[in-house]
C-alpha cells in the first residue's frame, strides 16, 4: 500500500454503547474493535522512520512493530511485543491518555492535520490484549532463595512483582484492602475498566508464584522495619491515598463526598447492586462534581448511573485545560453531564438538618500566564450564583497517604509527602527499600506507575544479585 492509500483509510470508529442506555448501566462503554477493524486501523500506520509514538510512550513500547503484526493478523506476535515492556496492555489500552503520549506526535495525525486522526494505537493495543490467546507459557525459573516484599497491589506493584518473580525471587504482596488491584479496582469504574480484566492480571501473577496477602496494612499490621528484616528487598507502591478537599464552608455537610469515597462505595463495594450489597450509597438526584480530571469524569458518570437526574461538572478553567482524557470528556458530554467551565464553588449550603441543598458558585477567568507559564484561575467579583443540588463530590485530586511515610523513621519524604527516590533505581533513602507509582509521583497515571515498577524491579534484581 502507498502512503497515500494508507492516509485515505477512514479511522476506524470504536463501537460504543448508546449514551442514553449506558448512562444507566455499569457495562463497559467502549465495546472494542472487531479483528477486521483492528487490522484495518493497523493498516493506517505508515511505519515511519521517525517513530515518534515510541518516544511518546512512557515505557517505550515498540508500537509500529506490534501494529505491523496486527495488520498481518499475527495477534500473538503483537501481544508478545507489547509484553516486552508492558504487563497491563488490557488496562493501558483503555486508560492511557494516548492523545498526550503515543498518539500525540503520530505522523499520520500530523500529516492529516488532526491529532484525533492519529493511528488509534490504544484501541489496537486493547484489541490485542483482549483477544490474543496468551500462548506464552510462564517459563520455569530457578528460585534464587531471595524474598521480595511488595506493598500495595496497584499497577506499580503488579509490575514490580511480576518482574521480580520472573527473575526467580519469591514475591509476597501486601494489600490493605480486601481485594487486590489498588486504584484499578476502587477508583476506575466498571464501565471504563471491567474488573474481570484486573482479576485476570492478578491471576497471572499468582500463576507466576506471587503470593498476595489482603487485609494487611503495612505499618499497622506489621511495621515496615519488621518486613525489612524478613525480606531481602521491599517495594513500596502504596499509592496516592488522601483525598483533597476544597477547604470551603459547608464541606462537612451530609451529602458532600470525596470522589474516593463516592467511587469506592460504587466500584469496590458494588453498592449499586442495592439488592445484594450491604454497603449503602448516597442517592443523589442533583449532583455537583468539582474538578476536571479523570476522577471528576468518573464521579460524574457514576452519579448518572446511580440514578441522578442532573449532574453538573464544575471546573475552574476552560475545557482546553482539563486534564481528563479526551475520550472521558467526550463520553461524559454524550451521557448528559452538564459542563460548567470557568466556574468554581465558593461554599456549600445546607438545610436545618445539615444536609446539602445547594452550592454557591462564582464565575472565573484566566489570567495571563505567570512565571511558570500557567494561567491562573481567579474569581470574577460579583458573579456568585446558587446552584440547587443535594450532593457535592469533590474530585480535585489526591495527596499522599501518610500511613507508611509518617511511621517509618529514616524514610525521606518531600514536602508533599511523596517518597524521595533515586530517579534511575527508584531506591529510597533506606537501603533495599524501593518505591514507585503515585506515592512517588503524586497522583498520576497507570502507565507511569508501571514504568516506575519496571525500573524498581530491575534495580531490585541487580541489588539482590549483588548480595
Amino acid at each position: 500500500m502507498t502512503v497515500k492509500e494508507r492516509l485515505a483509510i477512514e479511522p476506524q470508529a470504536m463501537p460504543e454503547q448508546d449514551p442514553v442506555l449506558r448512562a444507566r448501566n455499569m457495562d463497559e462503554v467502549a465495546l472494542g474493535y472487531t479483528a477486521q477493524a483492528a487490522m484495518r486501523e493497523a493498516e493506517r500506520c505508515l511505519n515511519c522512520p521517525a517513530r515518534p509514538c515510541v518516544a511518546g510512550c512512557p515505557v517505550k513500547l515498540r508500537i509500529p512493530d506490534f501494529i505491523a503484526a496486527v495488520a498481518k493478523g499475527d495477534f500473538a506476535v503483537a501481544l508478545a511485543i507489547i509484553r516486552e515492556n508492558s504487563l497491563l496492555p488490557a488496562v493501558c489500552g483503555r486508560v492511557c491518555p494516548q492523545e498526550r503520549q503515543c498518539q500525540k506526535h503520530c505522523t499520520v495525525g500530523r500529516l492529516l492535520g488532526d491529532v484525533s486522526k492519529a493511528v488509534a494505537i490504544g484501541r489496537i493495543e486493547r484489541f490485542v490484549a483482549d483477544n490474543a490467546v496468551d500462548s506464552a507459557e510462564i517459563p520455569a525459573v530457578a528460585p534464587t532463595g531471595r524474598r521480595v516484599a511488595v506493598v500495595g497491589t496497584g499497577p506499580a506493584s503488579i509490575t514490580c512483582a511480576a518482574d521480580c518473580a520472573r527473575a526467580g525471587h519469591e514475591v509476597v504482596m501486601f494489600e490493605a484492602f480486601h481485594k487486590p488491584g489498588g486504584v484499578l479496582v476502587y477508583g476506575i469504574p466498571e464501565f471504563r475498566l471491567p474488573k474481570r480484566i484486573v482479576e485476570r492480571e492478578i491471576e497471572t501473577l499468582e500463576r507466576m508464584g506471587v503470593k498476595i496477602v489482603t487485609d494487611f496494612i503495612v505499618s499497622r499490621t506489621r511495621r515496615l522495619e519488621d518486613l525489612r528484616c524478613e525480606y531481602d528487598a521491599v517495594f513500596i507502591g502504596s499509592g496516592a491515598g488522601t483525598p483533597k478537599f476544597m477547604g470551603i464552608e459547608g464541606e462537612d455537610l451530609v451529602g458532600v463526598f470525596s470522589a474516593n469515597e463516592y467511587l469506592t462505595r460504587a466500584n469496590l463495594m458494588k453498592a449499586y447492586r442495592e439488592e445484594k450489597a450491604a454497603t449503602p450509597y448516597w442517592h443523589g438526584a442533583k449532583v455537583a462534581v468539582l474538578g476536571g480530571g479523570n476522577v471528576a469524569m468518573d464521579a460524574s458518570r457514576m452519579a448518572l448511573r446511580l440514578g441522578a437526574r442532573e449532574v453538573h461538572l464544575i471546573y475552574r478553567r476552560s475545557e482546553r485545560e482539563m486534564p481528563a482524557r479526551a475520550e472521558e470528556i467526550q463520553h461524559a458530554k454524550e451521557e448528559g453531564v452538564i459542563f460548567h467551565m470557568l466556574e468554581n464553588a465558593s461554599r456549600i449550603i445546607g438545610d436545618e438538618n445539615g444536609f446539602v441543598n445547594a452550592v454557591e458558585c462564582h464565575r472565573c477567568e484566566l489570567t495571563e500566564p505567570d512565571a511558570s507559564g500557567r494561567r491562573r484561575s481567579v474569581p470574577v467579583k460579583g458573579s456568585e450564583f446558587i446552584l440547587p443540588v443535594d450532593t457535592v463530590i469533590v474530585a480535585i485530586g489526591s495527596g499522599q497517604n501518610p500511613l507508611i511515610t509518617s511511621a517509618v523513621p529514616g524514610l525521606k519524604v518531600d514536602g508533599r509527602g511523596r517518597i524521595a527516590v533515586d530517579g534511575e533505581t527508584m531506591e529510597t533513602s533506606l537501603p533495599g527499600v524501593f518505591a514507585g507509582g503515585d506515592i512517588v509521583q503524586g497522583a498520576a497515571t497507570v502507565i507511569l506507575a508501571m514504568g516506575d515498577g519496571r525500573r524498581a524491579a530491575a534495580a531490585i534484581n541487580s541489588y539482590l544479585a549483588g548480595r
Binding site: R222, G241, D252, V254, M269
Partner: protein
C-alpha cells in the same frame, strides 16, 4: 485474610462479644485501636469495631458490638467456628496513656456509655497500670445493657454505675456523677476519657469545660476504608477537618463539633432501615 471466630458470648440486650483468631493484629495492637471487618466475602460492608481486648500469646482479639444495622445483625448470627470474610488492623492511633507526674493530680476519670464500656475497659487498665488513680463511670439505658461491670471494677480504683431508668445502680445519666466528682475535687483530675454515644460525650464535654479539665473523646464515624483514603469519617475539630480513622479515634472533646458528627453519622440511616426491613440478609 479471613478470621475464625474462636468464641461468641452474649453480654446482654443486643450486645455481643466475639473472640477472633488474629495473631498479627493481637501482637501489634495497642489500647484504643480498631479493626475493619466484613462478614460476607462478596457483598459484605466494611465496618469498624474497637478492639476491646487482645491476647498476644494465644493470638486472639475481642470485639464487642451492638446490633444496630444489617452488618452487625449478620455478625451476630455467626457462631464459633464460622469465619469472617475479612479482618484488617490494627487501625487508628493508640490511646495516649501517661503516668501522673504530680502526686496531687493523679486521677483519670473513664466514662463508658453503652457498648463504649468495652474500649473504656482496656484504657482504664492501661491508665491504672501507668500509675493513675482510675475512677470509672458506666452508663447504660437499662440493667440488661450494663456490660463488663466486674472487669471494669477490677481495672479501676472506683466504679460508679448509672442507668437511665434506674433499674440498676444510680438513676440518671453519666453527667451527674461526673459533675459531682469535678465539683468535689477537679484539681486532682488529670484527664477525662470518654467512650460512647456522641450525644453523651457532647454533654460530658460541656460538664468538664468550666473546670478546664483535659477531656478526650473516642469518636465513631461511618467508615469505608479505615486507612485515610476516602475522608468519609471526617470530623471538625477546632475548626479543622480531621479523619477519625487516621488522626483519631481520640480527639480533644472541647474542640469536637459533635452536632456535625451526629448528623454525619445519620447519613445512611434511610438505606440502613431499608436493608434491615427488607430482610435480604436472611
Amino acid at each position: 485474610m479471613t478470621s475464625r471466630i474462636i468464641d461468641k458470648r452474649h453480654l446482654g440486650g443486643n450486645v455481643w462479644r466475639i473472640r477472633l483468631a488474629a495473631p498479627l493484629i493481637a501482637r501489634e495492637r495497642k489500647a484504643g485501636q480498631f479493626v475493619i471487618l466484613r462478614v460476607d466475602p462478596e457483598w459484605g460492608e466494611r465496618i469498624p469495631l474497637t478492639i476491646a481486648d487482645a491476647d498476644e500469646k494465644v493470638g486472639t482479639i475481642d470485639v464487642i458490638f451492638q446490633v444496630a444495622g444489617a452488618s452487625t445483625e449478620s455478625l451476630a448470627r455467626l457462631e464459633s467456628g464460622d469465619e469472617l470474610a475479612d479482618l484488617a488492623g490494627p487501625l487508628g492511633r493508640p490511646s495516649v496513656v501517661t503516668a501522673p507526674d504530680d502526686r496531687a493530680k493523679n486521677r483519670v476519670i473513664i466514662i463508658g456509655g453503652g457498648v463504649g464500656v468495652a474500649p473504656a475497659h482496656s484504657v482504664a487498665q492501661a491508665m491504672k497500670a501507668a500509675g493513675n488513680r482510675v475512677t470509672s463511670i458506666i452508663g447504660a439505658r437499662t440493667a440488661e445493657l450494663v456490660i463488663m461491670e466486674e472487669e471494669l471494677r477490677l481495672a479501676s480504683d472506683e466504679l460508679i454505675v448509672v442507668t437511665d431508668d434506674g433499674s440498676y445502680g444510680r438513676n440518671g445519666l453519666v453527667t451527674a456523677p461526673l459533675g459531682e466528682l469535678l465539683a468535689a475535687d477537679s484539681a486532682s483530675v488529670r484527664e477525662v476519657v470518654m467512650f460512647g454515644p456522641p450525644m453523651m460525650m457532647k454533654f460530658c464535654a460541656e460538664a468538664t469545660r468550666p473546670f478546664g479539665v483535659k477531656t478526650t473523646a473516642s469518636l465513631t464515624a461511618v467508615m469505608i476504608d479505615g486507612t485515610g483514603m476516602c475522608g468519609g469519617c471526617r470530623v471538625t475539630v477546632g475548626g479543622e477537618t480531621k479523619f477519625v480513622c487516621v488522626d483519631g479515634p481520640e480527639f480533644d472533646a472541647h474542640k469536637v463539633d459533635f452536632d456535625n458528627l451526629i448528623r454525619r453519622l445519620s447519613a445512611f440511616s434511610k438505606e440502613e432501615y431499608h436493608k434491615c426491613r427488607s430482610g435480604i440478609f436472611g
